[in-house]
Point group: C2
Chain length 376, copies 2
């Protein structure tokens, strides 16, 4: 470690911001590419470059400034990444992995090819093709690309729902009788060393298809937890790329585990690791990027992470209500992402609660949800 390693982050959102909080523990020089004047990560890096992460030139020129590149979001220009990789820039996750994951169709086919359990699916290109899959209904239709945070998903239960369907390349997936949704974060460094976090349990906000809160560890049998960790490692190994991956899974009513999707990066379902695990997902990513030994994924104490989401009917410069009252409760950690504007359903921050028991965590979360409001 002579000259500080130059680390570039494509995207300047909250994941980049939290990564930079960890980056400040290391001998690194940090670069962020994002459009807009003040994205969340822009004030915590050495070099903020305003530019479009989907533009070939912007990404290529940015990549040439650094030793290693990573992402805050999948929606980045892939051609530039392939070129940069050819020219010797390290990119974690690798562009070929990103290419598969960015396209939910390729991602699903990849699972099938690698015998990763996943809900049955078909690929379609246009809405009218849905007619020939009626026997496969009810389904979740998901856009092959461009979806995020629950956007780009439509539930189609019967023929009459086809009018609401996307008329675009998409997958249709058989609906799972979901018992629980869990997520397992895995990481691998360049030398092939790998590690896996204990599963967390995600509870969704049905208004926005966003994680409402998650509980760590997931309240599931140990054998199921081990199985989930095994599957997550299988997924990462199939992708064959250094990096950090969040593998989201369904547990169905028969205790089958099915992979829903994988994020090739830190993830909302790992935020609790900052206070709840020995090594946070962000510190883990820093270790991966620097080729350092991986950290300890063990849980320090049970935790619950609650997303702070913009309230319905409010859009504009953000105001936070009730933070102070929430902080009067013990062992409540506030994370505000520094976004200037709120809108309904926008992720504006999160709260992590640590404690001894799940019941205690749930109780406190309920109180906090009543206290904190993200409005304008």
């Amino acid at each position: 470690m002579n000259k500080p390693l130059r680390i570039g982050i494509l995207g300047g959102g909250q994941l980049g911001r939290m990564l930079l909080q960890s980056a400040a523990n290391y001998n690194v020089e940090t670069f962020v590419l994002e459009s807009g004047k003040n994205p969340p990560a822009s004030s915590l890096c050495h070099h903020f470059i305003e530019g479009d992460i989907n533009n070939y030139e912007s990404v290529y020129n940015f990549g040439k400034k650094v030793d290693v590149l990573t992402i805050d979001i999948e929606h980045v220009n892939l051609d530039a990444l392939f070129k940069l990789e050819e020219e010797g820039i390290k990119i974690f996750p690798r562009p070929r992995t990103l290419k598969i994951i960015k396209d939910k169709g390729l991602q699903k086919e990849f699972y099938k090819k690698h015998h990763i359990p996943t809900p049955h699916f078909h690929l379609i290109n246009q809405r009218k093709e849905l007619q020939k899959h009626l026997s496969f209904f009810p389904v979740a239709q998901k856009l092959r690309s461009g979806g995020y945070d629950g956007k780009g998903v439509e539930i189609l239960r019967a023929e009459k729902d086809i009018q609401n369907a996307f008329d675009a390349p998409s997958i249709i997936e058989s609906l799972v009788d979901i018992q629980k949704e869990i997520s397992v974060i895995v990481a691998k460094n360049e030398t092939g060393k790998e590690t896996v976090y204990p599963p967390v349990e995600m509870v969704f906000d049905n208004r926005y298809h966003l994680v409402d809160y998650l509980v760590s560890p997931a309240d599931i049998d140990e054998s199921l937890a081990l199985k989930a960790q095994e599957i997550a490692l299988d997924v990462m190994n199939a992708f064959d790329s250094p990096g950090i991956f969040a593998v989201e899974m369904f547990i169905d009513s028969n205790n089958n585990i099915l992979v829903n999707e994988t994020a090739p990066r830190t993830h909302n379902s790992g935020h609790q690791s900052i206070e709840g695990n020995y090594c946070s997902q962000y510190d883990m990513q820093m270790r991966v990027l620097q080729g350092l030994p991986l950290g300890d994924t063990s849980i320090t104490k049970p935790s619950l992470m609650l997303n702070l989401i913009g309230e319905p009917n409010y859009a504009g410069p953000v105001k936070y209500e009730g933070l102070e009252e929430a902080m009067l409760l013990k062992d409540v950690y506030i994370h505000i992402y520094g976004k200037h504007e709120t809108r309904p359903g926008k992720k504006m921050g999160h709260v992590t609660i640590v404690g001894k028991k799940k019941t205690e965590l749930l109780e406190k979360a309920k109180t906090i949800k009543q206290l904190i409001r993200v409005i304008s």
Copy 2:
């Protein structure tokens, strides 16, 4: 909380840097004033202003940009702070408290006035006055102002040592038969709410009079720990200022506790709180600055903090050896301060180890000290 609170930090060293890592969890806009192009805190704030923290104009103009001011170091222009406070800028610690603490002579007289136990002392203005205090020898002579990190201290055992003494306003303090050195961090917010951390034990590096390592919690009787916490609270209450304070104390061979000195800010002796306590000293400072409820000072797990100090005989662009090997050990947290140049005895970073037992922590610390070298 509407517009982000504007927080200014005078000084851009590692304490400011770690404060900014915590600041990124809140809805704040951060400002740093420091000389030099790239001090440790400069890359983690919204606004870095290059300027002299000892210059009236620089500090005054900087202070006018913010809602609340704090410090990374005591050596700042006080006149500007008094003026700013008059004009309604919140300053934690208050300038009148800082004025007392900055001058070790005033600080000692303050302890005496407020019946805070502290080693006996005399004030002198010139070296030649030492002759009339020979019966008080052996003493530690400390410069009244300008000393830091063990600089500005001279041990005078006998008359012949007077030739090495400082010829400047200083205190001479009777040498304590030190059994242990401990530190207790206390915090108070504007509403008068106060809290206290468990004592930590400091072991010094005799080459540089710097903390070599510290162990949390201090290995002392509970009654002594409670007494130390009580004294630290007394000190803070006597100072009558919101803020965070590190009260360094000696425990003598008769188990008397004597206050050595107080830092009116976060402190080296609180670095372990990032991983080893529910609320870190930096998060606590953020709460104080924002007028938020204070955090939980409890220990999450025993910890040991080891300073990473520039090796003797190396000066110039820094290189770190052995970090990777150290990180192969479990539950070792690296904190590099991002300073470009090393020199003998310069604080370049620290390592925190968490674990179950003091013996285990000491063992690991010994290994790490052999592994990591800060050279050029």
